[in-house]
Symmetry: D2
Subunit: 331 residues, 4 copies
Amino acid sequence: MSNLKQTLTPPFDIVRVSHVELGVTDMAYSREYYADIIGYHIEDETADTLYLRGMEERNHHSLILTKVDEPIVKRIGFKVRSEEDLDKAQAFFASKGSPTLWVEKVAQGRTLHTTDPFGVPLEFYYQMDFVADILQEFPLHHGSRIQRIDHVNLFHNDVNAATAFYAGELGFQVTEATVEDIETDDSDIWAAWMHRKGGVHDIAFTNGTGPRLHHIGIWNPSVTDILNFCDLLATSGHIDAFERGPGRHGISNAFFLYIRDRDGHRTELFAADYLTVDPDLPPRLWDLQDPKRQTLWGQAAPRSWFEKGSLFAGVSLSDSKLKRQPIIAPE
Amino acid sequence: MSNLKQTLTPPFDIVRVSHVELGVTDMAYSREYYADIIGYHIEDETADTLYLRGMEERNHHSLILTKVDEPIVKRIGFKVRSEEDLDKAQAFFASKGSPTLWVEKVAQGRTLHTTDPFGVPLEFYYQMDFVADILQEFPLHHGSRIQRIDHVNLFHNDVNAATAFYAGELGFQVTEATVEDIETDDSDIWAAWMHRKGGVHDIAFTNGTGPRLHHIGIWNPSVTDILNFCDLLATSGHIDAFERGPGRHGISNAFFLYIRDRDGHRTELFAADYLTVDPDLPPRLWDLQDPKRQTLWGQAAPRSWFEKGSLFAGVSLSDSKLKRQPIIAPE
Amino acid sequence: MSNLKQTLTPPFDIVRVSHVELGVTDMAYSREYYADIIGYHIEDETADTLYLRGMEERNHHSLILTKVDEPIVKRIGFKVRSEEDLDKAQAFFASKGSPTLWVEKVAQGRTLHTTDPFGVPLEFYYQMDFVADILQEFPLHHGSRIQRIDHVNLFHNDVNAATAFYAGELGFQVTEATVEDIETDDSDIWAAWMHRKGGVHDIAFTNGTGPRLHHIGIWNPSVTDILNFCDLLATSGHIDAFERGPGRHGISNAFFLYIRDRDGHRTELFAADYLTVDPDLPPRLWDLQDPKRQTLWGQAAPRSWFEKGSLFAGVSLSDSKLKRQPIIAPE
Amino acid sequence: MSNLKQTLTPPFDIVRVSHVELGVTDMAYSREYYADIIGYHIEDETADTLYLRGMEERNHHSLILTKVDEPIVKRIGFKVRSEEDLDKAQAFFASKGSPTLWVEKVAQGRTLHTTDPFGVPLEFYYQMDFVADILQEFPLHHGSRIQRIDHVNLFHNDVNAATAFYAGELGFQVTEATVEDIETDDSDIWAAWMHRKGGVHDIAFTNGTGPRLHHIGIWNPSVTDILNFCDLLATSGHIDAFERGPGRHGISNAFFLYIRDRDGHRTELFAADYLTVDPDLPPRLWDLQDPKRQTLWGQAAPRSWFEKGSLFAGVSLSDSKLKRQPIIAPE
């Protein structure tokens, strides 16, 4: 399908999604939720900011929590291949009319702040500080024993346009997509999963009021860690965090659990994946009417999963126009 | 709570629940569902009957499928400690006014047919034929790799009465119970789990239109086998069988999956359990209002799970009077 | 085989193996090893004693650690069915010429101290104090997330005699046995596994210099917990504790890991088991020459596993005469 | 360490290791071993050749078995990014004095046959035929449920030279390395793990008589699949195939099992891995004396693992000179 094509000559080279910065309203709660329960490692902290990472991550952070008054997603961060790619990125976004700003950011040095054409706040950097390798410091592994950030997933009003930008201009490769009519060439895209790093995705877009962040996906090596985490979450005063799962997606073959913190920020614990580095790998296409794409085992997702998301800083939804109604759980 | 007390001097000695005989309407379908997909081992078969067992079972059968015109549960079977116990059982049920009949049954010899006071068809025997040990014949393990029958669970209109009979007269020990008001001594019993064999249960009763069979519980050694089974079930033409789970019960701490065959017979794949052989072990009591008892992780059960069950042969529900409305899934 | 027969009329009724009391030389180390790393819950402690239990155990202790100058096994504890059984036990052991002494023991009340005919120090009690139910207090589960004591395993110079006493006199049922020649009826018994509680064993004996304690077996619900525990043990300063496994035994079908503390006390983490409550269940017999009985997957056990054990208090090995040389790992 | 540096301007662009062609002497045995037991999917076959793939692989083959008289490794295959890269590869190898030959190969079209400077037979292609997606055709998953080829591992007499070629000239990135003295800069390299695709490795070299193939690594999503496979292998007439494990490597954090077929070809079933796409990711360095690098849990590897390997077609070992003695299992 030509509307899923990636450019092979992107203006700069993105390595992978690297981190997300969330604004949270109660730092004591968020510290417990993300560090003690989910199991992120606290690498660093200041009075109003926590820098967190997974067990295999040797970079300084993959999640930044900042104290704010209203819940917000401050920014999504990507790593590029070189300092030169940073400069190319600045030129590209400026040419698109996006604001660009150079900042010095803790542990990641020269950092480009900009937005995508839909207003989503992004940042790009080349090198983050390396910190101690704790992959095999098992006494530090706890909670869900998460390993690394895997992807971000966004609601978008126009997934055709989002795909055209991220795949067609930035060079992400589409690995899976839900289309309105699988029999029609270049049918409207309902949802698209796109990668740079060789897994199913670094970023995905789903039809819905947006742009908003649907979830941060974090990778777990084992389904049993996710099941153990369910037990822990349920009996540590966080049963309100459960939203959907555990279960298996058709799309991506992921074993999933979706949870939401009290600011509404959603996390997917995600096990299983497959290798996507082949440049000629055809996307797996799903028809919008195929129930297996969402849940292989048939359980309906709750309505909140189709409706609730986190706002991005600086993005107004006033002009947001939903392409069509989301599919919701059967009554 | 005195209404949960077991007698220590039962009239005869039941070792454990042993098997169930289900009437099924399409033997080809049932053979595929139970043997190929769930993974029961076919020990023996005749034109209209299949004798099935789990991987650790050295007895000839723990599930009998018989071709019938309308789906039915023909009988629940229990093993007793000796031939003498069989005679005592006959005397006991006769004294209660239950019909008693001696039959010779395939692979289990002299067998007592009777009913409990609520009309549920039961059978008792002492020794079943031993067959080949396949516990470590791993090439024969497939499907969900089930190990053994664990328990039966019945809807009952009057769980107080069912408990009084099975615990108070037959000597089953109550391990867990849901009561209407946990603060009140001898509060009405909503549901009770009772064992003879040293696990959480051989038989359980839940408030609902009955007596009907809610499910047969089969024991799996591993949650991952159950997850793999979900994948298999969903992609082998049996997605209609999913009903509830996988998830964790508060009660019994079981990791569960509930599935229903096309005759409506429900099976629970069940992992985890705990040891209950101590004669003084106090029951774990749950308040009817405690949401964790049903699903530790918070997911609601579907309405069918509270309403659908299998009829027992010879039991009319016309006089059935529900004690109170079942708790159903929130809208 | 008649030399494996249990008496059906034992002089008193043993419910199950209940606890072991180990003498340890460095309480700070043992506390870290058993509580922080293996994951026992510390129920109670005094200046020189720790009372430990597993996650499903509602009794006060299943392992007692006492500070001593030289490593020793102080006593193996069994639960009996009633106070009357305690008195019968005293009469029985006295009639055998064993010393008997009534003591009051922390959390278990009236307790009988005695020895078996081979000098092994035993204790019997009826009721232990119940403590808080932590089966589903998952924030307290850590380390290997052990659930309960499963069995004790002893070296013995004369397994024929040990089996004759525990099965033939005390009523333990033999579930598996290794015999010198499986083709010969009543061949000498090399090793025997015997239960009261309905699993593969409460106590086992293996040919070797004895009586000495080979290991305490603790039951884990999941092989993945055992693998995670290996990672933790290896990277928490305890790599010296590994002795054998993880692997699968032919005997008992157990997934096993053997570790030894710095006093030489051995623990088996043990997953999988099967139900053995049927009174007529025939033992699984293994020929001494069958390599699968020890390790289904073929890995040899280290020499230490055949030679090292813990001394029992009051037992002299000076008269010990090994029936025959143990089978050791191939050079 | 500068002797581990990759070139950032390789002469052509290798995407990943793609497949291996093994010469086997008994096709009926190999078919059972690889397809029935390990669980490869048979995609295609001719009279003397089997084309096999893993569950997530949409390419036609990742393992080719060809009937031969003496066991041999015929060729290692790599995928390149474009047809143009194929031409560049031909020019590069020709400039190095390696033989180059264009062949048409089943399902992979225009294919370059050549050798590396040490004589190892390689092939390169751009596109392989896509076949049916069976990732979620779970009824087809069996045996160890393998997902994909992960890497090849070779014995080499001079790992310094092998690393200089694969990293310094072909652009593989070193992710982990064992060096003779970790305190010395550019110490001799004992072993090196190198990737193109974003995991720990596509190819690795270890000091030993070579070049010979040590093993093919195949990726499994779950440690429990590997444990279940051990049970299956042990009880299906293949216990002779076990060589080492299951266990955990320090290097790569892999959960591993090594097995050898009756031709001596070794396979590693491999679970866990970590993401390595960052161009600035520093290698994890291990000192040759650090026992954790080989087996985190301390078990020694058997001597065969250090000594046995598969010959490559056309490679003579007559000039092979071992750099130094391999480390072998303690006596």
